[in-house]
């Protein structure tokens, strides 16, 4: 080897130290070259996009920074701004209670909806995250009763008796179930109704216990109303949706027919026509002496609406299960109710969770439509009392922006959760 060296002019005998990559091939420059300017089309797109972003920042930036938070009317805002561009956020700082709780909810009772909201998060947590201790499900079970008491007020005994009725009904159901699922259901229902009747008779006697100032349904509004409608209607429509989906899958022509007609009818008409039904037509279909308030009628119609959509999602989940699952359940000798409860539905519901979440987000957004039938939800509050008042007539951007932001935060976090859950449930490791 050494004599080879003498022939050659130069041979490197040791390794060169590792060098930095060229400036074009590393760090932010490389990233920009490959992601923003990889060819001329991309370069043009990048420049256009940058132009759009800069325009947006320059037009919205000063508006935000000049924002005024502490005046009592738009005229004062304009005075302070003196012709400069700027937002008048004082409408939010002055009217935020109305935007969140509606115009008539007693202001010294705002802690009640707030507490109900916090409790809702706690109650939803064990349902949403399997890792949490299962004991927390007790809170979930108690939540509807506590929330009703907190929001509507009155004596706690109403909620307590309803809860006792449900518990007794469930116990009777578990005892009577061995005589057949339907029989158990009927027995449980009867037991619950009996307890409720007794409770209704006793309540006036024990009235003074833990009484909160009662609040009428029509006094509820703002974002709270959107939340209430969304949560109540989705929770109610889940069981109805499951039943409709099973009915549509059924082999009995009459049951299937009823389900199909209901689902297709509801899915074929816009929600707003159903809300018209709630506001002007539905009262005709109840006995003359009943006096249902608008919220209840709206809840009925929205629940019907969302249960049709949820039924379709669950039907997709049922159809996605391999036929072997149904046959396996049959071969174990399970009857229909057992097969559905123990084998089919747990799997089908798991598959349809993302779809159900989508429906829930869509429904929550659609609760704003109640403003069209002059209920004062968040949008109704903005379009009605606030924009019509002399102080704030003309403050559009700040209010609509606030409403959009509230909905965006809620819906975006729900859909992020849904995507996270989808990744958790994905068992095929691709």
């Amino acid at each position: 080897m050494s004599d080879m060296h003498s022939h050659l002019a130069f041979v490197r005998t040791e390794m060169l130290a590792q060098q930095e990559p060229p400036i074009k091939e590393k760090g932010i420059v490389k990233w920009a070259r490959s992601n923003l300017f990889s060819n001329w089309v991309n370069s043009v797109l990048t420049i256009v996009a940058l132009y759009v972003i800069v325009r947006l920042i320059f037009s919205a930036g000063p508006w935000f920074l000049n924002g005024i938070w502490d005046t009592s009317s738009l005229a004062q805002c304009r005075e302070i701004l003196d012709g400069a561009r700027g937002a008048c956020f004082s409408v939010l700082s002055e009217r935020w209670q109305q935007l969140l709780f509606g115009i008539a909810y007693p202001s010294d009772q705002y802690w009640r909806p707030t507490l109900a909201f916090v409790l809702m998060l706690v109650a939803a947590a064990p349902v949403l995250f399997v890792a949490l201790p299962r004991a927390m499900l007790i809170i979930t079970g108690l939540f509807p009763f506590v929330a009703y008491w907190l929001l509507w007020g009155g004596t706690i005994m109403t909620s307590v008796f309803v809860l006792i009725g449900v518990v007794v009904g469930y116990l009777v159901f578990t005892k009577a179930e061995r005589f057949g699922f339907v029989l158990g259901l009927v027995a449980g229902l009867i037991a619950a109704v009996v307890v409720w009747k007794i409770g209704g008779a006793i309540t006036p006697a024990v009235d003074g216990i833990m009484v909160l100032e009662p609040v009428a349904s029509r006094d509820m509004g703002g974002f709270m109303l959107n939340m209430m409608l969304g949560v109540v209607c989705i929770s109610l429509s889940l069981p109805i949706g499951i039943m409709l989906a099973l009915g549509r899958q059924s082999h009995m022509p009459i049951i299937k027919g009823i389900s199909v007609v209901f689902i297709e009818f509801i899915r074929g008409v816009p929600l707003i026509t159903l809300l018209f039904v709630a506001s002007v037509v539905l009262a005709y279909f109840f006995p003359p002496e009943t006096n249902m308030d608008l919220i209840l009628r709206v809840i009925i119609m929205i629940t019907m609406f969302s249960s049709a959509y949820i039924a379709e999602v669950i039907r997709g989940g049922l159809a996605a299960l391999p036929k072997g699952q149904y046959e396996a359940a049959d071969s174990l000798g399970l009857d229909y109710a057992q097969a559905m409860r123990l084998i089919i539905l747990p799997q089908a519901l798991k598959i349809s969770i993302p779809g159900i979440v989508n429906v829930a987000v869509g429904l929550f957004k659609d609760t704003t439509l109640v403003s069209v039938i002059s209920m004062f939800d968040l949008v109704g509050m903005i379009r009605g009392p606030i924009l019509a008042s002399t102080e704030w007539n003309g403050v559009y951007w700040e209010l609509y922006g606030f409403a959009a932001l509230l909905f965006f935060v809620t819906c975006y976090s729900i859909s992020q959760y849904s995507q996270w859950l989808e990744r958790q449930l994905r068992t095929d490791h691709r």
Binding site: N35, L45, T273, F276, Y284, F285, P287, P288, K365, S371
Partner: protein
Amino acid sequence: MTAYTDPPKESFQLSQLIHDTRYRSYTFQFIALVLLLFGLGYLTMNLITNLRVAGLSISYGFLGQPAGYDINQSLIEYNNQDSHLRASIVGVLNTLLVAFLGCITATILGVFAGVGRLSKNWLVAKLMSVYVESFRNVPVLIWILIISTIVTVMPAPRAYRGETPDAEMFLGIIAFTNRGIYVPKPLWLEGSWVVVTVFVLSVIGAFAYRAYAKKLLFSTGKLLPMGWPTLAILFVPAILVYFIMGRPIGVEIPELGGFNFSGGIAMQRPLIALWLALSVYTGAFIAENVRAGIQAINRGQTEAAASLGLRPGRIMSLVVLPQALRVIIPPVISQFLNLTKNSSLAIAVGYMDLTGTLGGITLNQTGRAIECVLLLMLFYLVISLGISAVMNTYNNRVKLKER
């Protein structure tokens, strides 16, 4: 207990209705039917009682009475002496108009945004994500109201007046004002039908040429040029005839006269607001469908096509798109359906669609709530079922033929 005393028989026993799975379904269906009829009967009884108490009856006679209200935007002749029925028809046409316009623009927006979200350009992909997420997660009603507000800050018609106007017409032919948008209107002069006929014939001719070229390719393998001959067949004869006939199709450009623009086609502010809002909102959903459709195509398909020697354009048009469209089109059609149903929110910005005329003013004037809401639902139901029928036909046509 009867089972002990009676010897087992093959004949039918009443208890089999509950215990025998062969007959149990009849029992359940019978119970369901009875409950349903009972429920419906109860509701009908209540309805009849309530109507009698209120001194009302169900009748559609009000449709013939004069409506007595004006409609700011109408595709057909209408004045306030016309009947409620005609007002409703104006509403139907307005619904169809905004749905049609909205579907076209939503598709264009959605395709751009969906493809943009898959772009290799980081900035474009992120911008499109922001667009899609912000529109998907905020109620459409809020977007309609926001865009309606944007339209009101456009210049007033008087800004276009004077020697040095504050605003200028876009390209000299389109005026954006806070009352609406004014666009040129085509004028059909004498002889224009010849041009139209020639153009229709050219369209047929273009299809015939493409069919012939395809047949030639499949039978002999000879590839005829496709792009420029199609364009030539489409436009050359029509343009020639247009000049030979002495330019029979003119354009009426909107002009400022008095306080407002006249001439041209006026698209009122509510229409613009609703159209734009529905387009961008539905566009965001369509973008997600397009993205999912393109991502659903296995990369192996593209690679296989490339290894066969196809050029990128042909890979897209012959391999990826036909498969992606199968995934994309059904959800997009149901988005069209959603857009049509969401157009009923027109009532929030004062656009007179069917919900605004029949379900709004007519209902309030006549107090015929049940009839109006029923007709309203029927209309949307017919549209929905029609679109579903189209979708099912399409699905059956493109279904993978498994052998």
